[in-house]
């Protein structure tokens, strides 16, 4: 997504926030969505979490809810460049924010996977796969701010990501592989 698009959406949302508190704007995977705040079926309830909005209103079910109390990182998405727990974030607090979910990593033009996604496949770095989207998003945020992390930095970044099948070792290999590839390609 071009940086200009984000800026445009943001300025629009600021205006929207000033003039009409009953609606918010989110940019999700580069697409702009406007939501009414309220209790109607298609609206966003003030008590709704971002994870619920993504899953239920936008049907972006790749973001998983596991513990629903901020302890397992399965729901991790990237908001304005930072990994956040979408189960602990109220949607009404996200007005004007730009969010990337697991569905937004694939290159829509070419169908190419993000290097991290490809590395996870190459290393069979998942078993049940339920916590995989959260781990990929956490790792992407790490590589975005630190393109060449040490093993210790990888472990520290993923410290909050619960995985019960113990696919940790494969995930660490995958992050290293993706870091190596990224320096050669894009992103």
């Amino acid at each position: 997504m071009a940086a200009g698009d984000v800026a445009k959406t943001r300025s629009h949302s600021r205006i929207a926030a000033k003039t009409d508190k009953a609606a918010i704007v989110l940019t999700v995977n580069g697409e702009r969505y406007e939501f009414e705040i309220g209790r109607r079926t298609d609206a966003v309830d003030p008590a709704q979490t971002l994870a619920q909005t993504l899953r239920e209103n936008l049907r972006l079910t790749g973001t998983k809810i596991s513990c629903d109390h901020g302890a397992c990182s399965a729901c991790t998405v990237i908001m304005d460049g930072k990994p956040i727990l979408s189960c602990m974030t109220l949607t009404v607090e996200c007005d004007g924010k730009s969010i990337t979910t697991i569905e937004g990593l694939e290159d829509r033009q070419t169908g190419h996977l993000h290097p991290l996604q490809q590395a996870v496949i190459n290393n069979s770095a998942f078993q049940c796969g339920f916590c995989t989207p959260g781990k990929i998003m956490t790792a992407k945020a790490l590589l975005d701010r630190n393109p060449d992390p040490t093993e210790g930095e990888i472990k520290e970044a993923l410290a909050g990501n619960f995985c019960r099948c113990i696919s940790h070792y494969g995930v660490i290999r995958s992050v290293k592989e993706a870091a190596g590839k990224r320096s050669e390609t894009h992103d």
Binding site: S66, F126, Q127, G129, F130, K155, C163, Y169, G170
Partner: protein, 758 residues
């Protein structure tokens, strides 16, 4: 390795890999059938009470509520062994037991409505400890189980199912012994395997006695098998969604299935029951508690002369299949200890803790975690190296054992001594083992110790499997077998086996969805049976399809069927390379397929094997024990996919596995019966920075199983871990911890330092 394979043994991407990494894989909570309602339960706040009155009028009147059920109007289905656990009962037996059910338009409305139900309880005294529960005058949980003893026997394993081990003469055996050890070990921390995706099911009635369930399942076929007798022989169609982890726990799940089905019947709409994390941790089935009061006799050379034990099994408020787990545990005891004299007596006891259910390790992990430490007391007396003892005593080809069906079987598997030796070399056992109660290294307050344990299970060939393989004219094949995907990668591995038999590219072989309506019978992906049992069925089906195709093609090619070969969807004459191959469609046309059938019959003669070597560092100042290094070693006959196999072995740490020796436990406050750590902050789990160095050693000695000589080992990877870690802690600190987990407070107490809150 002499045989060359196109796919077998190679790391290939799992067929569902792209869906997993892009978030497109559909788990149970990602499904939204039209008109679906949400079910929630009202839970008992008391561990033991009679419901005197229950008033649901306010809940029924709450906008958005579609049905409210109580013990008065719920179907009379009973789950468990023998059937005893009702969907809802007039008596509650643990904190979290179901009291009422609500179906509503949203989960929030359903939850709010449960709070509008008023219940008058008559509280009863509760009991949590197995020995207390067996005393006269103890609170009684069920009228039909006097003395709080569940009846013996596991009808699902046949009328002769193994209930105990009685063999030879233990009195004589103890007289022959040079050393006798006695003691009590307890593995009662009731860990929750805690798959990241909580259990969930959607039920919809298609007719008066015809039910469809979509379920997050390890084995849709098992769900159908056990649901039918449970729900009045309803014709149950079970469809697995992608399953976000099971570790055994999502094979039965009958109560949630029953709740969803009862609410769906009451509302004539599909109903989803999807537990929250707290509900999952506080109310779902947990591992059996295991306490063993035992006596072991051995000779100086490590020959086991007698084993006698009273095995107290805490099945909690209901037994999903504790007796079946006892049967398998009793079989597994004999695989690890070659002994002629046994008197091994299990007692399955009900208490006011969560019901017990199927968990990876299925009776064997619970048994081994208590029995093997007991054995080590005898080994210490005899000053024997445990590795040498296990090499001598783990079952060898030609040895016999009683298995879960109560019959005597003779081992045909490999001699696993070589796997133990190679594992020991990778670990450096010889250098690190310093003798019993002796640390490997001491550096200030930090002491390291090493431990080893073994496990084996003859269930890799339990129960039948059926499969079809259909060849399409376009050179593709479709495998029909009811295989769910809960993380073991078996759907991909089975396709690999078929691709190997048919010599097709992997992407030309696909599998039908895990749906009992479209697939033939299978017992389920349990007990490591996928590789051998399901594998045999698909291999046989592929061979049969190929044979039928060759019979069709032979006249057209002017050859005998047995002279033909196929590769990449082309038929050819292997003895005449110049003759042009012809595609399958030239034989089949475009409107015909060719289907083969395959079946696997029960075989209990191939025990699998796993050994775990553990190096643990104990900080004697803080009492904290850290697993620094682990080596798992086995022989699986043939590796189907090295990365998938490695994943199963790494999985030995979490999911109520090896970490139950260190920190995993469910803590019940016995003043009120409530679980104190039913959230993911207070329930401890291993994180990335705490990973030990992990080495896997896998041998490939072809087994007499199927065409590829492979057997499964995934399920048992957790089972030897706890005993190995407990041994390592003993060797580090020189004082025995007799129950799990070895938390800092227990270690400090054992060291005679202040500490310990229990």
């Amino acid at each position: 390795m002499t045989e060359k394979f196109r796919h077998i043994g190679k790391a290939t991407p799992r067929k569902d890999a792209r869906e997993i990494v892009t978030g497109k894989a559909q788990y149970i909570d990602d499904l939204h059938p039209p008109k679906m309602l949400y079910g929630k339960s009202l839970k008992s706040p008391y561990p033991h009470a009679i419901i005197k009155n229950i008033d649901t009028t306010k809940a029924e009147a709450y906008p958005g509520v579609r049905a409210v059920l109580t013990h008065k109007n719920v179907p009379t289905w009973r789950a468990g062994t023998p059937p005893h656990r009702r969907l809802l009962d007039g008596k509650v037996r643990f904190v979290g037991d179901g009291v009422a059910l609500v179906a509503a338009d949203t989960p929030e409305i359903a939850e709010e409505a449960t709070e509008l139900i008023t219940v008058e309880y008559e509280q009863l005294p509760a009991v949590y400890d197995v020995e207390e529960a067996l005393k006269s005058g103890a609170p009684q949980l069920y009228d039909e189980f006097p003395g709080n003893l569940f009846p013996r026997g596991a009808p699902e394993f046949g009328h002769k199912a193994l209930q105990e081990i009685v063999l030879g003469n233990v009195e004589e055996g103890f007289q022959e012994a040079d050393f006798i050890a006695e003691g009590t070990y307890a593995y009662e921390n009731l860990p929750n395997p805690l798959p990241p995706e909580p259990p969930g099911v959607i039920a919809q009635w298609e007719g008066p006695n015809q039910l469809t369930i979509w379920i997050s399942s390890q084995s849709a076929s098992m769900n159908r098998l056990v649901s039918q007798p449970f729900m009045g022989l309803a014709d149950v169609r079970a469809i697995s969604t992608q399953c976000g982890g099971s570790y055994g726990t999502k094979n039965g799940n009958l109560i949630q299935i029953g709740w969803a089905a009862a609410l769906a019947r009451a509302t004539a709409r599909p109903v989803k029951i999807y537990l929250t994390k707290e509900e999952h941790m506080a109310t779902y089935t947990l591992r059996l508690g295991s306490r063993m009061q035992g006596k072991i006799g051995i000779k100086k050379d490590g020959t086991v002369t007698a084993v006698s034990a009273r095995w107290l099994v805490n099945a909690g408020a209901a037994s999903e299949t504790a007796q079946g787990m006892v049967a398998v545990g009793c079989g597994e005891a004999q695989l690890a200890l070659r002994c002629k004299n046994w008197n091994f007596q299990p007692h399955v006891v009900c208490t006011n803790r969560n019901p017990s259910g199927v968990v990876r390790g299925f009776g064997g992990q619970e048994l081994k975690s208590a029995l093997m430490p007991l054995v080590t007391i005898a080994l210490e007396k005899a000053a024997l190296d445990p590795l040498e003892f296990y090499k001598k005593n783990f079952i060898k080809p030609g040895d016999g054992y009683f298995w879960r069906d109560g019959n005597w079987h003779v081992c045909r598997a490999a001699d696993y001594t070589k796997a133990m030796v190679q594992g020991a070399e990778a670990f450096g056992w010889q250098e690190k083992w310093k003798g019993w109660g002796r640390a490997t290294t001491v550096a200030g307050a930090k002491r390291t110790g090493v431990g080893v344990s073994v496990h084996g299970n003859a269930d890799v060939g339990e129960d039948p499997s059926e499969a079809y393989v259909r060849l399409n004219p376009d050179g593709t094949a479709v495998v029909s077998i009811c295989a769910s995907e809960s993380g073991m990668g078996q759907r991909s591995s089975l396709c690999k086996m078929v691709a190997e038999v048919l010599d097709l590219p992997l992407d030309k072989v696909n599998m039908t969805p895990p749906d009992t309506l479209v697939n033939p019978f299978d017992f389920g992906l349990v007990g490591s049976r996928g590789t051998y049992a399901l594998g045999t069925a698909v291999i046989n089906a592929a061979e049969d399809a190929k044979k039928k195709l060759f019979a069709l093609a032979a006249p057209a090619m002017n050859l005998k069927p047995e002279e033909l070969a196929t590769k990449d969807g082309l038929l050819f004459d292997p003895y005449n390379p110049e003759r042009k191959p012809i595609p399958w469609r030239r034989v089949l046309g475009i409107m015909q397929t060719c289907q083969g059938e395959g079946r696997f019959e029960t075989d209990f003669t191939l025990p699998n094997f796993m050994t775990v070597f553990a190096e643990v560092e104990v900080d004697t100042e803080t009492g904290k024990a850290d697993l620094k290094r682990i080596v798992t070693a086995s022989d699986c006959g043939r590796i189907i996919d090295p990365l998938v196999l490695e994943g199963q072995l790494h999985g030995s740490l979490g999911a109520a596995g090896t970490d139950t020796a260190l920190f995993e436990e469910t803590i019940i406050d016995e003043r009120n019966g409530r679980i104190m750590n039913c959230n993911m902050i207070d329930y401890k789990w291993r994180t990335y920075p705490d990973l030990p160095e992990f080495i896997t050693v896998i041998l490939e000695t072809p087994m007499p199983s199927h065409r590829f000589g492979a057997i499964g080992i995934g399920e048992i990877s957790t089972a030897p871990g706890p005993a190995a870690v407990l041994m390592a802690i003993y060797n580090a600190i020189g004082t025995r911890i007799m129950d799990y987990p070895a938390t800092p407070d227990k270690i400090l107490k054992a060291l005679g330092k202040k500490g310990g809150t229990r």
